[in-house]
């Protein structure tokens, strides 16, 4: 299985989160993440072009941290790359598009899991 085919959310990690924090609470936490994440993605877009490397790194760091909380392994990896390497050469459009696509997969899956 290649990375692209991997499920957006690691089920085992998500279940572990539900067991330790409670399913109702995790549903609220998912809502919070889905509210916050678009802002982080927008921040990444904005700071990639305006030469604010610290803000770019912090937004990537935040997204990575939250992705890992929900078991969104691939999203976490993509965000981590941006955190460690900074704005990609060429402005990062391709990387940020890939990040946005992965976020969409994560969002859809989290909404399913949230209702489950």
């Amino acid at each position: 299985m290649t990375m692209a085919d991997a499920p957006p959310i690691d089920n085992a990690m998500f279940i572990e989160l539900q067991e330790s924090a409670g399913a109702d609470f995790v549903a609220e936490l998912v809502d919070t993440f889905l509210e916050e994440a678009p802002r982080m993605l927008a921040e990444l877009r904005a700071t990639a072009t305006t030469g604010r490397p610290d803000a770019f790194r912090r937004a990537a760091h935040s997204l990575k941290s939250n992705a890992n909380t929900f078991g969104a392994t691939k999203l976490g990896t993509l965000a981590r790359d941006l955190e460690l390497n900074g704005v990609p050469v060429g402005g990062g459009d391709a990387e940020l598009d890939a990040l946005a696509r992965e976020y969409e997969r994560v969002r859809a899956r989290l909404q399913e899991l949230r209702r489950a």
């Binding site: 989160l17 330790s20 924090a21 409670g22 609470f25 609220e28 936490l29 919070t32 993440f33 916050e36 912090r58 760091h61 935040s62 990575k64 941290s65 939250n66 890992n68 909380t69 981590r80 955190e83 460690l84």
Partner: protein, 348 residues
Amino acid sequence: MPDPLRGSARLLVADDNKVNRLLLQRSLELQGHAVECAANGRVALEMLRQGSYDLMLLDMEMPEMDGFQVLEQLTNDKALRDLPVIVTSSLEGIAHVVRCIELGAEDYLTKPVNAVLLKARIGASLEKKRLRDQQKELVRRFATSEVAQDLQQSGFALQGRHVDATVMFCDIRGFTSLVESQPPEETIELLNTYYTLMFDAINGRGGVVNQMIGDGLMAIFGAPLPLERHAEAAALAALDMIEMIELLAVERKSAGRAPIRIGIGIGTGNLVAGYTGTQQRATYTCIGDTVNVAARLEQHTKEVARAILVDAATRAELGGAFAIEPLGAVELRGKSAAVEVFALDRGG
């Protein structure tokens, strides 16, 4: 409500990320703690300075003031220096962990934080804090605030050092028969009054009470902090103590109770002073011939029916404000050579 008996504490979570903050708060509340949150380092510091917290969980990557800056501020803040901080971060690289520990963080947990690990680390940190508080309380009870502060700043070094100081021993005359003649409650009350008065007199002259056994106490003048004219300070404290006991005797007499009297022995010289014990439970003490002499002199007060006896080294440091009567050389138990003994009283 936090319940210290059930291992519950008041915690502060500092994290700019809402998901992290909510999740950490939830985990901690499930563990029975009372939790408050701050969205950046500046707010966290404000809350710490206004409220009272047992422990802080600190994120490193935050806007306005990051975790490193918070740790630096805490180190320089007397009131907050001892607050245990557990860093919760997903920063990459061991260098960050090292820097946090160097800046005084108690522990470092990588996010996402495992609930079981979190519980264990918080438990360990709170236990360490409890021991530190206990130790501080011990020092506070046994020392003046200046000394306690000095000890806190210098840390607890468990090695001894040579100091020139004056040692005092004091106990209540005929205490055993007094205990037998009155209800136990009255004895405890008497001891509390006695200790309050004696501490007051000793601390008032710059001395430190470092041991209490039954009705006996040991005090040091000139250590752990140097004290100018420590022999004279001890002699003045002894006179204050006698005066206070006389006042107490008057009070007791009017309440129909037997008066009490005390005996005081004072010795001056070089001794080894330091903490003995372990890092968890230490007591400040002095060892050396001077200590033995002071203890024996206190015993000897009964035989010569004097309230205060001092050795030659102490006597040599005392000016004309005292009435000093030489009692000649006396054989003291545990001493091969006879010791010159002087009885001390208020001057003219």
